[in-house]
């Protein structure tokens, strides 16, 4: 696999080559400013209310990571079959006093489908991205992308919309037919970057020692192999030669991050394969990822930061025992692992029971009394079955939001004078969610 230095060189040369065509830009953020000046796009800026933290990308550029007042761009795969992933992130935001919107007015990026079946096209993908961007903008909350593929796709779509005037015009026309406009965020931010930026605040709340816990990291392909120049690197993590997320938070929490030979391989998800050709996905996941993690690194847990990767690495293992691969290595997202370390309920919040490979031995090693928690959760399920109201991390939405993407009374960003763009200039905040 190429080192970060080599990747840097390749990407720089490619950019030079493409610049020669006159169609490509080096840093889309600079071009965004020019397009905004010409009235072609609205740039969704990161404001002081978003409490940004600077991180560094592959090229050494500064990337501002908003840590507050966020619009959760959920992942369809996470919410569909590993819901402890988003709930752990929401829980961490509540614990650290961050505000957010978690709305029913979002679609997925639809890129899982595109990479799986190709029943879409770049204009449609760009319009889907821009619709979600506009919705986040009109609520005055900055989009935080949960999924690695959405993150990669949105970086590609932002680049496409900046570089291609024809696509830009088509997308703007479509959006205006539904009363929206072309908004592009100043930064495309993956939630794991939020975790990396928030590491000091997260670590300060740690309740369980992770000494002796060995974690192997699967780096999600679409986080750093799509538009690689925009991924976050940190000299403290593998000397800046691999992406900083999600390894950084594991190290900060005190776990041992162990290396293994196939760290750069994909997980085997394949987009199409995980649904209709799983013999490939499970073979690849078990032979190329789980086996080296266990046999080379003696891992207690595999940690990753993307939807498809958690799904494939976790769910592929149960069948492995029929082929002499009886590993059942727990697979968690970085936020589930961090939430557990901070004392989150393993079943009510981290929802580890949706995973095929049991996390219970890991919980024991982390010093978490999972037997009591499990009994409590079983009792909770019984109460829900009997009609009890569920416990929620944020206020429930009203009936009107089943139908309408309502404006909740926030001050629309274009109506905010620049001088007043400071924390507190917008609507009051109730609970974990801005209202």
């Amino acid at each position: 696999m190429l080192s970060a230095n080599e990747i840097r060189k390749v990407v720089a040369e490619r950019t030079e080559h493409q610049k020669g065509t006159g169609k490509k830009v080096v840093d889309v953020r600079e071009e965004l400013d020019r397009l905004e000046d010409r009235g072609e796009v609205i740039v969704h800026r990161i404001r002081p209310a978003n409490r940004p933290v600077p991180l560094t990308t592959l090229f050494g550029w500064t990337k501002q990571i908003p840590t507050d007042r966020l619009w959760h761009h959920k992942s369809c795969g996470q919410c569909g079959n590993i819901p402890g992933y988003p709930s752990s992130l929401l829980w961490l935001m509540n614990e650290t006093g961050r505000t957010y919107l978690n709305e029913p007015h979002q679609t997925s990026c639809t890129a899982w489908n595109y990479h799986g079946t190709a029943t879409s096209n770049p204009v449609a993908l760009a319009a889907v991205a821009a619709r979600n961007f506009h919705r986040a903008y009109e609520t005055d909350h900055f989009p935080l992308i949960h999924c690695g593929t959405s993150f990669g796709d949105y970086k590609e779509m932002r680049k496409l919309l900046v570089e291609n005037a024809t696509v830009r015009t088509k997308v703007r026309d479509v959006l205006r037919k539904m009363g929206r406009d072309l908004v592009l965020p100043e930064e495309i931010v993956h939630y794991s970057e939020w975790v990396h930026a928030m590491a000091p605040e997260i670590v300060a709340r740690k309740k369980h020692s992770l000494t002796g816990v060995v974690a192997t990291v699967h780096e999600p392909c679409h986080y750093y192999k799509m538009v690689p120049e925009d991924a976050v690197y940190d000299d403290r993590v593998y000397a800046g030669q691999r992406p900083a997320v999600p390894s950084g938070i594991l190290m900060e929490l005190g776990a041992t991050v162990a290396d293994y030979s196939t760290w750069y391989d994909c997980c085997g998800f394949g987009f199409r394969h995980i649904l209709s050709e799983r013999e490939f996905s499970r073979s690849f996941a078990n032979l190329r990822k789980i086996r080296p993690m266990v046999e080379e690194a003696h891992a207690d847990v595999a940690i990753t930061s993307d939807t498809g990767c958690v799904t494939t690495l976790d769910k592929s293992q149960w069948i492995g025992k029929t082929h002499g691969l009886p590993y059942m290595l727990p697979v968690l997202s970085d936020v589930q692992f961090a939430a557990l370390a901070l004392g989150a309920h393993p079943y009510k919040i981290a929802q580890v029971h949706w995973h095929s490979a049991s996390a219970e031995a890991l919980l024991t090693k982390m010093g978490i009394d999972w037997t009591s928690a499990k009994a409590e959760f079983r009792e909770y399920l019984r109460s829900l079955k009997n009609g009890a109201a569920p416990e929620l991390l944020h206020p429930a939405h009203g009936e009107i939001e089943n139908y309408f993407a309502i404006n909740k009374g926030q001050v629309l960003p274009e109506e905010v004078p620049a001088a007043s763009r400071v924390p507190g200039a917008t609507a009051p905040i109730v609970g974990g969610r801005s209202e």
């Binding site: 569909g80 929401l90 204009v123 449609a124 929206r180 799509m226 391989d265 209709s276 569920p390 089943n402």
Partner: protein, 278 residues
């Protein structure tokens, strides 16, 4: 003596019967496009080479094989990103047609090849262009490959999410084991109750990844109508497309009813919620 001399004669020359009924596959294993198929192959090849992305994604190739060395699909399929790039760069209508029957669908879209390519080719991207063309032209092989996706395409087109928890049924995901699919057996409650135990109201559904408002799903469908995606799908599966239109028509009626019920609240609002009429 040449090895050819040892081969049975009939391999080297066709019998009269074989000449009258040529096999679908050439001796090299390459599928031949003949008759109307040949014309379609030529059309697709021309469209492929004229796609603006071709010039952006295909930059050059030394045949070094770095892409294939790191390719997950190459380990399990008769597939090579190097070959795909070579076909994109130098192939003809027949080789492209051949690759589009099966090989393009082996790619995992992980972008590892892109990351390893010293030329900076977008190999995953050019394979996506080939796939798009196979959908646009409704190739029979593509129909067969994508036949299992009716349910997920329905979800995607109507609410914009790819999966729902009620898709993860034991009959289809037996290999995932009881914890991923059998909440009722493991926890003695229904899947509805398991979803209720997720601490966010928008996630407490089994029919989609999360609850999606009607306005949002109608806006998404408008995008599909306006950008040609619905037409792409119609070429691939006309019955599914008609069903999707019926579902959306019902949602439009539901939306209009709701506009009546919430007229007072909507009148007080600004932005798309006030102007979008479905």
């Amino acid at each position: 003596m040449s090895i050819v001399a040892h081969l049975p004669r009939r391999v080297l020359s066709l019998t009269e019967e074989e000449a009258a009924n040529p096999p679908a596959m050439e001796l090299t294993g390459r599928r031949k496009a003949t008759g109307p198929e040949h014309e379609l192959a030529e059309t697709i090849f021309a469209e492929f080479r004229q796609d603006p992305r071709h010039h952006e994604f295909v930059l050059g190739c030394l045949n070094c094989g770095e892409c294939t060395t790191g390719c997950p699909a190459a380990r399990f399929y008769d597939f090579s990103p190097r070959e795909m790039l070579q076909i994109a760069a130098t192939g003809d209508a027949t080789t492209l047609w051949d690759a589009m029957q099966e090989k393009i669908w082996a790619c995992c879209q992980c972008y590892t090849c892109n990351m390893r390519c010293r030329f900076g080719n977008d190999i995953a991207g050019i394979i996506s262009v080939m796939r798009e063309l196979s959908v646009v032209h409704g190739l029979e092989s593509t129909r067969k490959t994508l036949a299992p996706f009716g349910r997920s395409l329905t979800l995607l087109m109507t609410v914009g999410t790819q999966v729902s928890s009620d898709m993860i049924q034991p009959d289809f995901f037996r290999d995932w084991g009881p914890f991923a699919t059998g909440s009722d057996k493991v926890w003695d409650v229904s899947s509805d109750v398991m979803r209720k135990a997720i601490p966010s109201d928008v996630l407490q559904t089994t029919r989609s990844s999360w609850e999606v408002s009607v306005q949002t799903s109608l806006e998404l469908f408008r995008i599909y109508e306006e950008t040609g995606v619905l037409d792409m799908l119609r070429g691939l599966d006309p019955d599914l497309t008609e069903m999707l239109i019926d579902i959306i028509e019902e949602r439009r009626e539901e939306f209009q009813d709701a506009r009546g019920r919430f007229a007072k609240e909507i009148a007080a609002m600004r932005g798309p919620v006030a102007s979008f009429t479905g």
